[in-house]
């Protein structure tokens, strides 16, 4: 009990309050004390006990003295307790309720329960050991770090010097991190943040880091990284590999395909996928084999071959019925359409527009008028006006 000091509940700088529990009685080792029915408060630095009603008595125990904790389960007419083993009192300690004690531990009795939660916070505070860390006040925004600490006002030369120092630090930290691969692996996260912050600053000032459109595009593609690319080493060979690869492709490509109008050439796909995979390249043949399994796996994209031999990936939501319905609607609303008019209307290539019209014609959605002015499609009144 002699480790306790008279204290108050005011928190010191950098100290946080973690939890409160009412109905706490203190035991000096095995013997009861007069400190009963109080509120115990755990902060990041101290264990504080305060009288619940009188609110005059307040005891504080620095957590640095705590050596270990022990739990005593509740029993018949006995509340659950936490035994707090303490190291010997430090000399020069402030006055407390007892000048000496024959015990090296105190006990907290939980008459209102709640010892489980209390114990958890206590363990957390002991693990974090915040009292050992020197409190660093958050730097005022905008002030150059290092410049505030000086006794004198820094002046322009001081500011320049501190900027220079910081730059030198950054330079050396880059140089050191890239000395060899092992060092870079250790410092990788730091270097990732550093590279990003440098680029952001340059961007703020200059707009873009480079004028070259290929490099810009490359950066964009690389930033879509796939964290764990499917490889033959990790997922075996043959069908299993292709199926896993197909799933990866579907998850990476679904959105970009939608963004570019529901269709993407296989070469485009090949480039995007390999860029996202970084250094784990896949060959065109593997890509094609994986795409062949889309339908079987019921993935939201599918491989499509045009008569011309062009291959594309297409999102499956782009279904034939949908196309037919939409094409019929457009033709009806315009009265009549040629392939090139439809192409302009829905922002599609002329070949695809013609293909859509022919498809719609095949199911009776539109009729053709083939004259020297070209092939023109009309709403199919023969079927609709009966």
């Amino acid at each position: 009990m002699n480790r306790f000091q008279w204290g108050d509940t005011n928190l010191s700088l950098g100290e946080d309050s973690l939890t409160n529990q009412t109905g706490i009685a203190l035991y000096d080792g095995e013997s009861k004390t007069n400190f009963e029915g109080g509120v115990a408060n755990i902060t990041s630095h101290r264990l504080v006990w305060k009288e619940q009603y009188g609110r005059t008595t307040c005891l504080s125990l620095p957590l640095s003295l705590v050596q270990r904790l022990e739990e005593q389960a509740s029993g018949f007419a006995k509340s659950a307790k936490i035994v707090v083993h303490l190291s010997s009192p430090v000399s020069g300690q402030q006055a407390g309720p007892a000048s000496s004690s024959k015990y090296d531990y105190i006990r907290l009795s939980f008459r209102d329960g709640g010892q489980q939660e209390f114990l958890r916070y206590l363990v957390q505070a002991l693990r974090e050991k915040k009292w050992e860390k020197k409190y660093v006040p958050p730097a005022p925004p905008g002030a150059p770090p290092g410049a505030v600490a000086g006794r004198h006002r820094p002046g322009i030369v001081g500011i320049e010097r501190s900027i220079q120092q910081k730059q030198q630090q950054t330079d050396t930290s880059i140089d050191q991190s890239f000395q060899d691969l092992k060092k870079l692996m250790e410092k990788a996260q730091e270097m990732v943040s550093l590279s990003k912050s440098i680029v952001t600053k340059i961007r703020d000032k200059q707009g873009e880091i480079t004028e070259d459109e290929t490099i810009k595009f490359k950066s964009y593609l690389l930033s879509m990284g796939i964290p764990n690319p499917v490889t033959k080493e990790t997922h075996g060979t043959g069908d299993k590999y292709y199926r896993e690869l197909a799933k990866e492709l579907a998850s990476v490509l679904e959105k970009p395909i939608k963004d570019c109008g529901g269709m993407m050439t296989m070469t485009d796909v090949y480039c995007r996928v390999n860029r996202a995979r970084g250094m784990e390249l896949i060959s065109p043949e593997d890509l094609l084999n994986a795409c062949e399994t889309f339908e079987e796996l019921r993935l939201p994209i599918k491989l499509r071959r045009f008569e011309s031999g062009v291959m594309v990936l297409q999102s499956s939501t782009h279904s034939e019925e949908e196309v037919i319905k939409k094409t019929t609607e457009v033709v009806e609303s315009k009265g009549s359409l040629t392939a090139e008019e439809l192409a302009q209307n829905i922002g599609l290539s002329v070949i695809l527009a013609k293909e859509r019209l022919l498809l719609t014609e095949r199911v009776g959605g539109v009729c053709r008028d083939d004259s020297e002015e070209g092939l023109r499609f009309y709403p199919n009144l023969l079927l609709t006006k009966t």
Partner: protein
């Protein structure tokens, strides 16, 4: 109570001069800092490029680090692919070299297609590749480009090399996906006809791009040829008659 000293013209001038000097100094520091940042980014680039060539296999082995490495490459715009050609690639075309080059070629085509409609001369392609590839990577020849493109054959006819005169052009947007034809028809809307030089002048197209689009339209029966004038005109009867029916 102390009386404030009245401010004279000289003091105001002095103050203005001081302020101007502070401003100058401020922008000087900012410029200096910017130069340093640019230098740091260049350092980053050089190191990353060195690492991609030297430690490729080690980087590939460690998934967490690989992701971080890629993030860095993405941030500063370094190409992580820098395999060297080697003897076997040269002889048999095996190895990563041509596959990597393929990825880089498509990338250049995609990045420029908004401007050239997916038609690029092999000279421009090579120049852009050299610029965007890692500075440490091997020199590439036209033959390398053609071999790399050949490897993409499995992916269909969407990506083709066209022989134009005594040089090559690479076409990355197939007819199915090009909007060039639509653009030509749109352009013809006012006069009902277009000429090749109109397209080159108004749309800033390359001659090859314009003739390909026009030839397609003639082949599909959408445009009719009129050779009476000094330059061949391409008429669009569908546009012409549509306007007649509106006028009557």
């Amino acid at each position: 109570m102390s009386r404030r000293r009245p401010v004279g013209v000289g003091a105001i001038k002095g103050k203005n001069i001081a302020q101007a000097r502070f401003k100058d100094k401020g922008s000087e520091i900012a410029d200096d800092q910017f130069a340093q940042m640019t230098k740091q980014m260049e350092t980053f680039k050089t190191y990353l490029e060195e690492f991609t060539t030297k430690h490729k296999d080690d980087i590939k082995k460690n998934p967490a680090f690989r992701a971080q490495f890629q993030e860095m490459c993405a941030a500063v715009g370094v190409d992580p692919l820098a395999s060297s050609k080697g003897f076997w690639a040269e002889m048999l075309g095996v190895g990563d070299f041509y596959y990597e080059l393929g990825v880089q070629i498509i990338e250049v085509c995609l990045a420029t297609s908004h401007r050239n409609g997916g038609l690029i001369s092999i000279e421009e392609l090579r120049e852009r590749l050299i610029k965007s590839r890692s500075k440490k990577s091997q020199e590439i020849s036209y033959d390398d480009l053609l071999r790399a493109i050949k490897k993409l054959k499995a992916l269909g006819n969407g990506f083709t090399v066209l022989t134009v005169g005594n040089t090559y052009m690479v076409q990355s947007v197939p007819g199915e996906l090009t909007l060039d034809h639509t653009t030509v028809i749109q352009h013809a809307q006012k006069a009902f006809y277009v000429t090749k030089s109109m397209l080159i002048k108004d749309l800033k197209w390359e001659a090859e791009r314009a003739s390909r689009a026009l030839n397609f339209l003639v082949k599909e029966g959408l445009a009719w040829v009129d050779d009476q004038d000094s330059e061949r005109q391409f008429w669009f009867p569908s546009l012409y008659t549509a306007s007649l029916s509106v006028n009557t």
